[in-house]
């Protein structure tokens, strides 16, 4: 049995990189490293590191950072916050709101006010819901294709 791959982490990682490719950041974010912060999901962080080892995102090399406390949060392009409740997510999201950060989660009920993109499982498949209003508030421009394939879009 092949236990070397965390299938969920790999799938989520690929989707996250695809989200990143389909999003436009303000000009000052288009240089240097493309920073992806990961909270509460080491397998996902490892997968992202492995997947982006030889190629970056939007022509920028990828740097994966792991945060364990909201106090550590710095400027980043993407932030994945793992957690089972809004209470776990909000302190990190609040800090990320200081930057043009695409906040991604996998927690029910957080898409309405905290998260830009939230993973959901639908019929065994990993899908996502989006909050394009929040993305605009974060200064991000999202491609139509991303919106088109979302399970639910909050505008």
């Amino acid at each position: 049995m092949n236990t070397s791959v965390n299938t969920r982490a790999k799938m989520k990682g690929i989707f996250m990189l695809k989200f990143a490719q389909s999003t436009e950041w303000p000009a000052e974010y288009k240089q240097g490293e493309f920073v992806i912060a990961v909270i509460n999901d080491d397998d996902l962080a490892k997968t992202l590191e492995m997947t982006t080892k030889t190629k970056g995102v939007n022509s920028q090399p990828v740097k994966v950072k792991r945060y364990t406390s909201s106090a550590e949060v710095e400027k980043c392009h993407v932030m994945y916050i793992g957690g089972k409740s809004a209470g776990e997510i909000e302190p990190f999201a609040k800090k990320a709101n200081n930057y043009n950060t695409l906040i991604i989660t996998e927690t029910p009920g957080v898409i309405d006010r905290t998260s830009c993109i939230n993973f959901v499982v639908s019929g065994s498949l990993i899908k996502y819901e989006m909050n394009t209003k929040l993305m605009k508030d974060q200064g991000l421009v999202v491609s139509n294709s991303l919106e088109k394939l979302a399970l639910k879009v909050i505008k």
Binding site: M1, N2, T3, S4, V5, T7, R8, K10, M11, I14, F15, L17, K18, Q21, S22, T51, K55, V121, S124, L125, I126, S145, L146, L149
Partner: protein
């Protein structure tokens, strides 16, 4: 000693006047006794072409022995195996002519031995990765075994052979030693399904088939690339989920048959995890941890 008895029987049954005339069969016997098998073969081949000798069961029995002994000296070459085929043909002809049943036991015993060598060749070919000849030898083995005992039940043998065949193909598949993985995968699935059809309670076949489906899915996910269009990623994900769903009933069956086995618990936890059913994945993970005393 076992071999000497039928030969002795043959010698005693050759009519004295025939031996005295030194016909090809008698000369073949002489050559055989002096261990000149090639000469014996030449002479016995002449004997079977003779109208009288060729119509006698004993001539064919003796031919069967000669060819069998030559084969035994060279069991692994194509030439040696041709001799085995000739030996089989001779014994079968002898049985047709042996209306009194005088040589039936000897012929059947020799055919039993030869069918065993066919099975061994099938297993050896599988071991060496020569799958096509392996299947051919196995079919020949069955044909011969069925000739000896028409009611023989091959279920156990079929399960054994097909399982071994599938496991060898799985190794090739896992090591990516194939130019056509899809066709190889179909062959593996077909074989395991045939085993399960023969014996639905075969734990290993159920487990292995589930693992094959699961590993296929994992392999696809592992090779996913974020440069692919979004729509394609969704299609790939759907394809992978079908593979995980295919794996599930077989792993559940293996678990039902051996609930205390850690491999099946790990398998179920992994499959449910792949299907994004975290609750069930954790359920089996906890069972596994309890089993392993963690």
């Amino acid at each position: 000693m076992r071999l000497l008895i039928p030969i002795l029987v043959f010698i005693l049954t050759v009519p004295i006047e025939l031996r005295a005339q030194l016909d090809p069969a008698s000369l073949a016997l002489r050559a055989y006794q002096s261990k000149d098998l090639e000469k014996a073969k030449e002479l016995i081949d002449i004997a079977i072409d003779d109208e009288m000798s060729g119509a006698r069961a004993r001539t064919w029995v003796f031919r069967g022995y000669i060819y069998k002994d030559i084969y035994k000296l060279d069991q692994l070459s194509p030439d040696g195996r041709e001799k085995r085929d000739e030996s089989i043909r001779s014994y079968k002809r002898a049985l047709e002519l042996d209306t009194d049943g005088e040589f039936t036991n000897d012929c059947m015993e020799s055919l039993r031995f030869l069918s065993t060598t066919m099975y061994n060749d099938a297993a050896r070919s599988l071991e060496g990765g020569d799958f096509k000849p392996a299947v051919e030898y196995y079919e020949k083995y069955k044909e011969l075994a069925r000739f000896r005992k028409p009611d023989l039940d091959f279920t156990g043998r079929d399960v054994e052979f097909k399982s071994f065949h599938a496991s060898k193909l799985s190794l090739l598949y896992e090591k990516e030693q194939t130019n056509n993985p899809d066709s190889l995968s179909e062959e593996i699935v077909r074989l395991y399904k045939e085993v399960i059809e023969l014996d639905s309670n075969d734990v290993q076949a159920n487990y292995n088939l589930a693992i094959h489906y699961y590993n296929q899915g994992v392999h696809i996910i592992d090779n996913m690339d974020y440069e692919l269009p979004f729509e394609e990623l969704f299609l790939i994900q759907e394809k992978v989920m079908v593979l995980f769903q295919n794996a599930l009933p077989y792993m559940l069956k293996a678990y039902k048959l051996t609930p205390g086995k850690s491999a099946t618990l790990q398998g179920l936890s992994g499959i449910y995890f792949g299907l994004n059913d975290i609750e069930k994945s954790e359920f089996y993970q906890k069972k596994l941890e309890a089993l392993e005393g963690k």
